[in-house]
């Protein structure tokens, strides 16, 4: 109960640092999920609707990549953007850009794989019907996506849940810098290391409330099953 009281006290306090931390989390997650969706949704459709040699293998690889540990993604991007790495001259390590690159890599396989899975389950008559209605080219794909919007939304939300809840990438690539790259999860990690368990749990509750709110709103907007 103490923790719940603490969480609500924190929210009601409107503490500017807490607000900034929540906004940073949302900002990073939103940007990386938008980018991953722009790449992953077309890729998911492509892998279902077009056949090419090695397609099955690509699917197996993408599905396996869903198991990527955040710390491995972090290490991989770290080795790219650290000063000694190939992209070192850009100075991206410990900046929001590095975090977003990491989160994008983390979540792209999830969005792609889930979109592909949902597209595979769609009524096989749907593409046919759309063709019969005279849809072709970009318009055909646009209508297809519109018909599948509920499924796509759930894939995007699953990806969003993964990024907003991850700590490995944000910690390693962002560095948990106050007022800059400190997110809800890196704050929880920091507070836990300081022995401030109640504050950590309170932040966890705030994170879950944000996730719930977003899922709820999307559910209302898209009305997916």
């Amino acid at each position: 109960m103490n923790v719940l009281t603490e969480a609500f006290k924190l929210i009601l306090s409107g503490d500017p640092e807490l607000v900034e931390i929540c906004l940073t989390s949302l900002r990073f997650s939103a940007i990386s999920i938008v980018l991953a969706s722009l790449a992953g949704i077309p890729l998911g459709f492509f892998l279902k609707l077009r056949d090419f040699p090695g397609r099955k293998m690509v699917l197996v690889v993408i599905n396996s990549l869903m198991a990527l540990p955040t710390v491995v993604v972090g290490l991989f991007v770290y080795s790219l953007v650290a000063r000694s790495g190939p992209l070192g001259s850009l100075g991206l390590l410990f900046t929001p850009v590095a975090v977003i690159i990491g989160q994008f890599i983390l979540v792209l396989p999830i969005v792609t794989s889930m979109v592909h899975g949902r597209v595979s389950e769609m009524d096989p008559r749907l593409p046919e019907t759309l063709r019969t209605l005279g849809a072709s080219g970009p318009r055909y794909y646009f209508m297809l996506v519109r018909e599948m919007k509920g499924s796509i939304a759930s894939a995007v939300l699953a990806g969003f849940g993964r990024v907003i809840g991850e700590v490995g990438v944000s910690m390693m690539l962002g560095g948990n810098i106050r007022w800059y790259t400190r997110t809800i999860t890196t704050t929880i990690s920091l507070e836990t290391s300081k022995g401030e368990f109640e504050l950590g749990l309170a932040l966890g509750i705030i994170l879950m409330m944000i996730a719930f709110l977003l899922n709820f709103l999307t559910h209302r907007l898209v009305r997916y099953e």
Partner: protein
């Protein structure tokens, strides 16, 4: 209906994106950002939260702090991923400068290490003033001892003390955690074991711990902090002027006064060394 929904979704997306483009809480003239890798003790104790805003106010330079163990902080410095480091492992600091990775090392402040443990003290070390002898007794009693095990300044000091005691610690009683100081203190409290900690982190956390200081005052437990700029000859991209501005500030009368006046529960955590 469809249009309205799309509009709402689009609005939500735009709000997120614009929040991303314009970070919250920005000032009118955007401060220069420089990066400093430091130990968890300076950040977790809250000292930097006192020093950095004052420095920002004066020079319009925002120090982005990456709080890690001393070992990792030095690695970040060697790789040029930060502009300066504030650490506590004198031998490693000297090597960092001697190998050309850093320049202009300055003494900043000190506190000391202490050995803490449970009040019932099964190894019987309470009141000893020879830290190495105390570790020998812990080892002889096979009482649980938690090591940072992360090449931090505290871990380096602990290994030196074991060496002085002529023991290479091993066995189920010796637990290498690989965690930061705060986490280790929490674990020690749960296990009711022993550990070596800097006094600053201890003072910041002791109210939540059922532990007490058992050994202190050994000259070997001196814990000096040094600040070093990353060598701009080696890494031309570092903000050397920014780093030197902060080194000047932290060793100035003003900076040293902030360190002197920084207290937790009435106790001073760090003792300034640049200006006595």
């Amino acid at each position: 209906m469809m249009k309205k929904r799309n509009f709402l979704l689009l609005t939500a997306a735009l709000i997120f994106l614009s929040a991303g483009l314009y970070g919250g809480g920005q000032k009118e003239s955007e401060p220069v950002h420089i990066k400093m890798a430091t130990t968890t003790s300076t950040e977790n104790s809250g000292l930097l939260a006192e020093l950095l805003p004052a420095f920002l106010e004066e020079k319009n330079i925002q120090i982005d702090v990456i709080a890690v163990g001393t070992g990792k902080a030095i690695t970040h410095g060697e790789n040029g991923d930060v502009d300066l480091i504030l650490v506590h492992a004198p031998a490693k600091e000297d090597a960092f400068v001697a190998d050309g990775f850093g320049v202009n090392r300055r003494d900043v402040m000190h506190n000391d290490f202490v050995i803490i443990g449970p009040a019932d003290d099964p190894a019987g070390i309470a009141g000893m003033t020879d830290a190495a002898a105390a570790l020998s007794k812990i080892s002889a009693a096979s009482a649980p001892f938690l090591s940072r095990g992360d090449e931090s300044g505290t871990h380096v000091k602990e290994k030196d003390l074991w060496k002085d005691a002529g023991i290479s610690p091993a066995g189920i009683w010796y637990k290498e955690t690989g965690q930061g100081m705060g986490t280790v203190l929490t674990m020690v409290g749960e296990i009711q074991g022993y550990t070596l900690t800097d006094r600053g982190t201890w003072l910041a956390m002791k109210d939540n711990l059922d532990l007490k200081i058992l050994v202190e005052g050994d000259g070997r437990l001196f814990n000096p902090y040094g600040i070093i700029a990353v060598n701009p000859e080696l890494h031309s991209h570092v903000n050397y002027d920014g780093a030197m501005a902060f080194i000047d500030y932290i060793t100035s009368v003003e900076g040293q006064d902030i360190i002197r006046n920084f207290k937790k529960g009435g106790e001073q955590l760090f003792f300034p060394d640049a200006v006595q």
